[in-house]
């Protein structure tokens, strides 16, 4: 009766045991990573659109306001995709026979829609509402990223539930003055670039409730913040004109950190508490 197994088999047996363990762990880790990978979330993917529309060109270059195209972002759940008309408004005059714009002219002529491919595509059972976010001090860039620096539109964030919850559990980190909603470059206050805010008319829509500025109001009088980093700090631009009809009391508070500003705005805008914001029915119906 000889040995059944060769000498080597001991090492082999133990090794394979260890290996199994390792594989199991590895598998777990992989899956966990996979579910957050761009392959699943589609972050950074640029679907090929009928027209290679460049937000960079139109926003940064031409300085178009977001609402020029996404007209109803403040009024409705959907920001709204611009109708062909919007494109034609300008492109009836300029680039009238650019190759790229052929689909636009097609659509305008035939009356058939331009078929874009949705970049920010939430699951069907999630009810996201632009209206309330932009009116409560969440800037476009907070979710969509620096659209003004995207030649081709892509999805900046995962748009996964955990990502939503990050903010819903602690809105303060992302709140900004409603005057800065469309400011792609808003970086939040810091000790170098403090922000002064004051509560103006009480009651009325939240949007007018608070006014903020980056120019020391005790100085030559308040101006509304102009934070476009990519334009000269003193060159007057359209966003400099203070909102009309708002008298500015002198009682300004100075903020040097996003957290302070966030807390202040949370109170001013009556942001609902995290418990309510992270409650299921807020997004699922």
């Amino acid at each position: 009766m000889a040995q059944v197994f060769d000498r080597s088999s001991n090492a082999l047996a133990r090794f394979s045991l260890v290996l199994t363990g390792v594989i199991v762990i590895a598998l777990g880790v992989t899956l966990d990573q996979l579910q957050r990978s761009p392959w699943v979330t589609r972050q950074g993917q640029r679907p090929d659109q009928p027209i290679p529309f460049s937000h960079k060109h139109h926003v940064e270059g031409l300085g178009l306001q977001c609402q020029y195209c996404h007209t109803q972002v403040e009024k409705a759940a959907y920001a709204g995709i611009p109708p062909t008309k919007t494109c034609i408004n300008c492109h009836a005059q300029i680039w009238t026979n650019a190759e790229l714009l052929e689909p636009v002219r097609q659509s305008w002529a035939t009356g058939a829609s331009i078929q874009w491919i949705r970049v920010h595509d939430l699951p069907d059972y999630v009810y996201f509402n632009h209206e309330i976010h932009v009116n409560k001090g969440i800037g476009c860039a907070s979710c969509h990223g620096r659209v003004d620096e995207m030649p081709l539109m892509y999805q900046q964030n995962t748009l996964q539930m955990e990502w939503c919850l990050n903010c819903h559990r602690n809105p303060a980190v992302n709140l900004r003055p409603t005057s800065e909603i469309y400011n792609m470059a808003w970086a939040g206050p810091s000790s170098e670039r403090p922000v002064w805010c004051t509560s103006t008319v009480t009651g009325g829509a939240t949007a007018q409730n608070v006014s903020c500025t980056t120019m020391n109001p005790s100085g030559k009088g308040p101006e509304v913040a102009m934070l476009q980093m990519n334009t000269e700090a003193n060159g007057p631009t359209s966003s400099d004109v203070p909102p009309l009809g708002i008298t500015m009391p002198a009682s300004y508070q100075k903020f040097t950190s996003q957290m302070d500003l966030g807390k202040y705005l949370t109170a001013q805008y009556h942001i609902r508490n995290p418990e309510q914001l992270s409650s299921c029915e807020t997004c699922h119906r």
């Binding site: 699943v40 589609r42 009356g111 949705r118 009556h270 029915e281």
Partner: protein
């Protein structure tokens, strides 16, 4: 993961996808329904069981496959189970499964979603914000003014028009359901000529030339449904002017001939009666189901006024309702006193009442009833009213006129006005003569406007044969129905939500009917048809209506017209009382009928599908009918004794023979039905022509209906035929759960040997689920609902712990674990806490709320087989409990939906936390988290949770996607669902309020059921706001929680009923 919610509608994609080419012409995008009915029929051949919108994969299956399957599952045979065949979708699900397992997040990559932006976006359109337009639903008994919620120009909800003086924003089951009627994929989509697709132009041409050829319209006959449109009447006048010989006959199987005949006799001219119940202390209904639905003229005002006066408040006299009727109706069971009589007896009773002498051969308790009633009426000093039913004989109407005038009610609680129908007529007589003409070959062209005589005409007329006699027949109808199938011309009719017209409401007010959406299939309306004969046939219905409106719209037309469109009604068009009051008593002219021999048969429009016009509307087919809780069926309805006499058992098929004709119907017992009568409901037994839903449901009672027995007839015989028919009843208590132990109870152990008590009904009171008291009892003990046993409340019984009483707060394991009165630190405002209060005094069990819920919450229709095994999906149901001896029971209605318990049993047992409590106290169901263990349903004592046992929602039928509410997920297979307090409306209101930086106002959030309720029985709001309606209602002593002793702390509470019986009858 598998798409659980398929948010149709204004999800950006959808909205824009559906609305490509700009402007309201959204609908041109609808893909036509995928098969012709003929094809559908072919595919569905020999298939039992119904399923809402069976999808094509299934239709494509071979009959053989279905044979096999049916024998595989005898019980769930048929479509019920085959929501979709083993199909692309089936496999996708399996794939979904495996992929889900692959990606641990349970989500596979979504496919690319396209976006279709507008070319030119309509100015007033804000995607995602609904728009509301006023119009009216023309119904034979008078138009129902409605406000239509439209999402990117697709009507998605039909509700009452709050601005309207008559309806005050209430609505009813039928009106609510017309929405589904609009999107019915089986609607006919083409003009057909001899079965071939033809064009409207061709018809116009043919018709006009024919008319011109004819001498003055000789031989041109119109057979129209009851006309409520002044414009149409005006057009008809023009037609007559042009073609004096042309004839117009109106016919509806369910009509108002009785009142016409009687009023003619009484007033000399056709007259409608309007009742002002807010004035009436005593109401007598002579077979009038005025709380049942719009089948009775003026249902909305009558119901709300009745309820208003039936509300119990200190120092307010409650009205008292007497009902004499045959078929037990909600009206009868709301009544303080109900007398069940055969139709023939009702006439004699009414006449006796008019003459003041007790009817001959009345039983003791009938005498008693009679005495008390007549005394009550007299003592009321004119603050009383007698309402005859439209389906009661002329004699009853005559008697009612007489009574009302003799009691001095006329002018106080009754006014007589001209008829809502601008061209009143006695329809049966007219139909008779028409048929005579047809037989006589006088009729060259028979143009039928929205009627289906082949199906609904009394058989003794031999309409079908006569029809064959007519050279050219043309029908304008929404479906290619029985008549359309054999007419030379079929013109697809535009739905009222697609067309211009006008109509008078009960009070005479004219509403402009304006289209919400372009005709999906280019349908036409009666206006177009008549116009074809006139000078400028190309004039559109719009032009015609405008032209005619100039007559009745006062003041600057442009502005008033715009106002009329906006408000939905034209000022100053309401009827005023006719001069001449009651006129002479016409009682004599309608002698009491000879004593009937044999069984009587009473024909009634069905409470859910009326005369059959709603046969293809799934919501209504599946709706549990008032009182009977029958769904997807009609039955031969009779009393316990009759059942015994005929040696029948429930759900035995019984053959009813009536002068030579026979029909086989399932027998069904209904408590409180008079003996010796069988009630049958019309509108069932449709063929394939009715569409995929209505086909083959129930039996066709028209088969035995004759011209002289339209309402009721005697001399029928009924005998059992072999076999059984499994009735589809959503509450089994009147079959399985009735029985000998019903009265068993420790306190009074009387045992009900012959089983004439409803165990369910009995238990409902044992368990204090239903609580009520008489006025006197309330006066004695205002807190009757919680202590001392008032008549309907059996709490604190010997040998029992107190039933159904709230557990003292601090007895709870976690008394104040969750605080629902948190303060917002910044505003110091107390948070919202949502709650609902339902007044059982006001609930009349009319089902309007249920249909409204269907539309608001995208509730699927599951089909007969599924309902039969108890899988109906309505989030809201009306529980009906029969109290006492089932020969003459009381009944109680209790709307039951999710109670949003603060200590909800369902939440605690869900292993994945798919149902949780929100800070504002909602019990939310998170569909996409649900894995479907169904434990929550087991642990829900109210059994209000509904489960998608199979794939019930229809993801395939295009037209239905347009109908869905974009703010509510469409639930897929394997997911639990339930009433959400219309959370989508709550969220919308919150967003608006937060934007405007204010609190939500009381009444700003209205749930779908609350909105529809004709009697405002339902109040919803913030219970933390002590000023709110709901908080006040809950503060009442009569307010109680159902099953409170379980300490689930439901947020929905009920206000115990109070009845006002006559002392001698109590």
């Amino acid at each position: 993961m598998m798409k659980i919610g398929n948010k149709t509608g204004t999800d950006e994609t959808m909205a824009e996808m559906k609305a490509p080419a700009g402007q309201p012409v959204v609908v041109t995008q609808i893909a036509p329904a995928k098969m012709t009915l003929a094809e559908v029929h072919a595919k569905l051949d020999g298939k039992t069981g119904r399923r809402f919108w069976k999808n094509l994969d299934e239709l494509a299956d071979t009959p053989a496959f279905h044979e096999l399957m049916r024998e595989e599952f005898p019980r769930q045979a048929g479509a019920g189970e085959w929501v979709d065949a083993v199909s692309r979708r089936g496999f996708l699900k399996v794939m979904g499964a495996s992929l889900a397992l692959a990606g641990l997040a349970g989500c596979t990559k979504q496919p690319d979603e396209p976006i279709f932006p507008y070319i030119k976006q309509p100015e007033d359109l804000v995607l995602g914000k609904p728009m509301y337009f006023a119009t009216a639903y023309p119904f034979p008994t008078g138009a129902i003014p409605v406000l239509v919620k439209s999402d990117s120009f697709r009507p998605i909800k039909v509700d009452g028009n709050p601005e309207h003086p008559m309806s005050k924003g209430k609505s009813d089951a039928f009106t609510q359901a017309t929405l589904l009627d609009l999107y019915d994929p089986d609607r006919s989509q083409h003009v057909l000529h001899r079965g071939e697709v033809a064009s409207w132009g061709e018809f116009q041409q043919a018709f006009a030339t024919a008319a011109k050829k004819s001498s003055g319209g000789q031989g041109i006959y119109f057979l129209s449904e009851t006309i409520t449109s002044p414009t149409l009447a005006a057009q008809w006048k023009q037609v007559q002017a042009a073609y004096p010989q042309a004839k117009m006959v109106q016919w509806e199987p369910v009509n108002q001939d009785s009142s016409r005949a009687a009023s003619k006799a009484a007033f000399g001219s056709y007259t409608d009666a309007q009742y002002k119940l807010e004035e009436a202390d005593v109401i007598l209904s002579l077979d009038a189901d005025f709380l049942g639905g719009i089948a009775h003229p003026g249902f909305l005002p009558l119901a709300s006024d009745y309820a208003e006066r039936h509300r119990y408040e200190e120092g307010k006299t409650m009205n008292r309702l007497y009902v004499v009727e045959t078929m037990p109706t909600v009206t009868g069971f709301k009544a303080e006193h109900r007398l069940a009589l055969k139709p023939s007896e009702i006439a004699t009773f009414a006449q006796a009442l008019a003459s003041g002498s007790a009817p001959q051969g009345a039983t003791a308790e009938q005498q008693k009833f009679f005495a008390a009633l007549s005394a009550d009426l007299k003592n009321s000093g004119g603050k009383c009213v007698v309402i005859p039913g439209e389906q009661a004989s002329p004699a009853v109407h005559a008697a009612a006129y007489a009574l009302n005038s003799s009691l001095g009610a006329v002018g106080k609680t009754v006014i007589y006005t001209e008829t809502v129908n601008p061209m009143p007529s006695e329809q049966v007589a007219d139909l008779k003569s028409l048929v005579a003409d047809m037989k006589g070959g006088k009729v060259q062209w028979l143009v039928m406007l929205g009627v289906n005589p082949i199906y609904s005409a009394p058989w003794d007329l031999g309409f079908r044969d006569a029809f064959a006699n007519v050279p050219v027949t043309a029908q304008l109808a929404s479906h290619v129905d029985e008549t359309g199938a054999i007419s030379n011309w079929h013109i697809n009719k535009a739905h009222y939500l697609e067309s211009w017209s006008d109509a008078r409401a009960y009070d005479g007010t004219i509403s402009i009917i304006q289209p919400m959406i372009d005709p999906m299939y280019g349908g036409k309306s009666a206006h177009d048809v008549l116009q074809a004969l006139l000078a400028d046939p190309q004039q559109s219905a719009y032009d015609v209506v405008v032209a005619n409106a100039k007559i009745y719209i006062k003041g600057d037309f442009a502005t008033s017209w715009r106002k009329a469109l906006h408000d939905g009604w034209v000022e100053g068009t309401a009827f005023t009382a006719k001069a001449g009051g009651a006129g002479k008593s016409a009682v004599a002219s309608f002698p009491a009928a000879a004593a009937p021999s044999g069984l009587e048969i009473s024909f009634r429009p069905d409470p859910s599908i009326y005369d059959g016009r709603f046969a293809n509307v799934g919501w209504l087919q599946e709706l549990p009918k008032q009182v009977t809780n029958l769904s997807w069926d009609n039955a031969a309805i009779m009393s316990i004794n009759t059942l015994a006499d005929l040696k029948l058992d429930e759900s035995d098929p019984v053959k009813i023979s009536l002068n030579g004709r026979e029909v086989i119907a399932p027998a069904m017992m209904i408590p409180g039905h008079p003996d010796g009568v069988i009630t049958v409901h019309l509108g069932f037994g449709r063929g394939v022509e009715s569409g995929r839903v209505g086909e083959g449901v129930g039996f066709d009672a028209y088969q035995i209906r004759t011209t002289d027995g339209l309402l009721s007839v005697s001399g029928a015989t009924a005998k059992k035929v072999p076999g059984t028919y499994d009735l589809c009843i959503t509450k089994v208590h009147n079959i399985e759960h009735r029985g000998s132990f019903a009265q068993h109870d420790l306190e009074k152990p009387l045992s009900d040997k012959d089983g004439v008590y409803s165990l369910a009904g009995h238990e409902a009171e044992e368990r204090s689920i239903i609580r009520y008291a008489t006025v006197d009892e309330v006066k004695k003990n205002p807190n009757f609902a919680h202590e001392g046993g008032a008549s309907g409340t059996l709490i604190d019984k010997v040998g029992y712990s107190p039933q159904g009483e709230k557990v003292p707060h601090d007895n709870s394991f976690f008394p104040d674990n969750w605080n629902y009165e948190k303060q917002d630190p910044s505003t110091l405002k107390i948070q919202n806490a949502w709650g609902m209060a339902i007044d059982l005094n006001s609930c009349i069990g009319c089902n309007a709320c249920i249909v409204s819920c269907y539309a608001e919450n995208n509730i699927p229709v599951v089909g007969r087989e599924q309902v039969k095994v108890g899988r109906n999906m309505q989030w809201l149901r009306i529980d009906t409990y029969f109290e006492g001896d089932l020969h003459a029971p009381k009944a109680h209605f209790q709307p039951m939906a999710c109670q949003h318990c603060e200590n909800a049993g369902c939440e605690q047992v869900c292993p994945v936390g798919a149902t949780v409590h929100t800070p504002e106290g909602l019990n939310t169901m998170v569909y996409n988290r649900c894995v479907g263990t169904r434990y929550c349903s087991n642990n829900c004592p109210y059994k209000v949770r509904r489960f998608n046992f199979l794939l019930y929602s229809d993801y395939d039928t295009e037209s239905l996607k347009f109908m869905r509410n974009p703010d509510v997920s469409v639930r897929s297979r394997g997911v639990m669902e339930k009433c959400s307090y219309c959370v989508q409306r709550i969220e919308a209101a919150k967003i608006t309020a937060d934007k405007e930086n204010r609190e939500i106002r009381d009444g700003e959030i209205v749930t779908a059921c609350q909105q529809a309720c004709p009697t405002s029985a339902i109040t919803f709001g913030n219970i933390n706001d002590k000023a709110s309606k709901v908080a006040k209602a809950k503060a009442e002593e009569r307010d109680y929680q159902v099953l409170a002793d379980l300490n689930f702390r439901p947020r929905t509470t009920y206000t115990a009923g109070v009845i006002n019986p006559h002392p001698e009858l109590a």
